[in-house]
């Protein structure tokens, strides 16, 4: 089988708050039901996580709050500095070395060129007082675009795609509903045609009907653009709808990973079984 190489390969992702001590791992992790070491107080937000995403693939990370799933995503996006691990991205113009070791200047360039992110809270991904078009233009400007007309064309094309009324392009997202803010965020994330899309709890906190529209949009964009995507969510319904493979995290560790339908129908780990049996769907 001639399978494409992974577009993202991360090994040993680790993030801790505190210095750690020799007995940390005797007390923390999924097996111990906590991520804070009782001896030294170090919190292991995420420990030794491996993940791989192939071209066109949608990988899910599911777990309760505090499981470390968002930490993983934020390290990949350089929002948090990794305390350990190795990240490689196979895309044009990306060096074949541990991308955590780059200079902050290069990290910024790379992030802008290769990744797109949508946060749960729109204010993390958007400048609320800058027009929606401007929010999209910012990423284009970072990539060196210097023609206002071209940027406006690209922005209106993206807003149309994400079902934001184009006539509101010059309005600030501050004035928009939560669902529409999310759609502007998605448009911004896609502006530079990223090789990797990161979605962090994108529908959490939205009304159910709005959630449905945002999910539909993401799925449709997925079908059209085939962009490799990491979906982080506590919601098994979101994971079921968007992903083909997923990983289950608890207390900073991956307890199980597999095909999404297998995780949902034949969960192996006790925690996953609990998660699946607790889900409303």
């Amino acid at each position: 089988m001639n399978l494409p190489h992974p577009i993202l390969e991360a090994r040993g992702l680790t993030k801790r708050y505190g210095d750690g001590c020799p007995t940390c791992f005797d007390h923390t992790g999924a097996a111990h039901g906590r991520n804070r070491c009782p001896d030294c107080g170090t919190v292991w937000a995420c420990r030794d996580v491996d993940l791989t995403i192939h071209p066109q693939e949608v990988l899910g990370v599911v777990g309760e709050s505090g499981s470390g799933k968002s930490t993983v995503l934020k390290m990949l996006h350089y929002d948090l500095e990794a305390d350990g691990g190795d990240m490689r991205v196979r895309a044009e113009g990306v060096e074949d070395s541990n991308l955590f070791d780059l200079t902050s200047f290069r990290k910024r360039q790379l992030r802008n060129a290769v990744m797109g992110i949508v946060y749960q809270h729109p204010h993390l991904g958007l400048r609320m007082n800058v027009s929606s078009g401007g929010n999209i233009a910012e990423r284009l400007l970072m990539a060196g675009w210097r023609n206002v007309g071209d940027m406006r064309n690209r922005a209106s094309e993206l807003l149309e795609r994400t079902e934001v009324p184009v006539e509101r392009m010059d309005e600030a997202p501050r004035n928009f509903s939560g669902g529409m803010q999310q759609r502007v965020q998605i448009a911004k994330a896609l502006s530079n045609r990223p090789a990797l899309l990161l979605l962090d709890e994108v529908t959490t906190g939205l009304d159910v009907s709005v959630q449905a529209r945002v999910l539909d949009l993401i799925r449709r964009l997925q079908e059209e653009l085939h962009v490799a995507t990491l979906v982080v969510s506590h919601d098994l319904g979101v994971i079921r709808m968007l992903t083909t493979r997923c990983m289950v995290m608890k207390n900073g560790q991956v307890v199980e990973s597999g095909l999404t339908d297998q995780i949902l129908e034949d969960p192996q780990h006790a925690y996953t079984q609990l998660l699946v049996s607790s889900a409303l769907v």
């Binding site: 902050s104 200047f105 910024r108 078009g133 401007g134 233009a137 910012e138 400007l141 210097r146 206002v148």
Partner: protein, 296 residues
Amino acid sequence: MKLAEWTERQTGETRRAVYSFAFIDEGAKREIRRKTLKAVAIPGYQVPFGSREMPVARGWGTGGIQLTLSLIGPDDILKIIDQGSDDSVNAVNIRKFVRSVTDVETTTETAAATLIQTRHRIPEEPMRDGQILVFQVPIPEPLRDVEPSEAETRRMHAEADYSRMWLHLYEDIVKYKEITIGSRYPLMVNDRHLMDPSPIPRWDCPKLHQSETLYLFGAGREKRIYAIPPWTEVEPLGFEDHPFRVENFEGKTCRFCGADNAFLDEMKDEETGETVYSCSDTAYCLKVLNEKGADS
């Protein structure tokens, strides 16, 4: 000049003898000169310096004064201007002060000066090699209006991440169909650092590009020195379809000298109430008038 020599040269005015030549002590001068050299070496980069107390309040040109005092020698010919005028209170007082601590010759003629300190203008008369123009700078940080955090603006300079400023210009165009920045227009220096040229009008910005003259910028309150050495690339930010442009004075001339190629101040004629224009650079205006007088 050593302090002893300087003291010796004093003729009875003993009250000045307690000061070094050019007021500030030699150690401070050396520090400012070192920082100035660093600024020249990294065009557009803001070099922190130990801004001293001056006999005027910070915010009244103390950055420019410290640069001037650290640079000036007994043979310099000094010109001080304030928004183009040699005669404003600020210019007159700084000139008096520098003269009283150095005894240098002063002038209002741009061409005659070796050292010019300015507030918010570049002289109309082209400056040449061998001259130095010192700017008084209120806000050295070009990104301050788009980013309040100093830590963040330093990061942005370090990474040459100027997208926020570009975004500001984009938003300006969206709102007003043009870039509305009148003064303190952001400039890209040597293709690396974004720089605030002090509140000079857009009109003066092109004069900074590939110039014969050394431009030094001093911000006393903010404790920063930066520079544009001669023959440096200086490019005002602009878009392909909304390029940088200077103020348009088409069809307007100076009411005194008739100049149609100078930056003009707009004012109301007190008697007739009509809008009239005059050269902002008064020395230039006078020069044009004199030349006209000589011709006729």
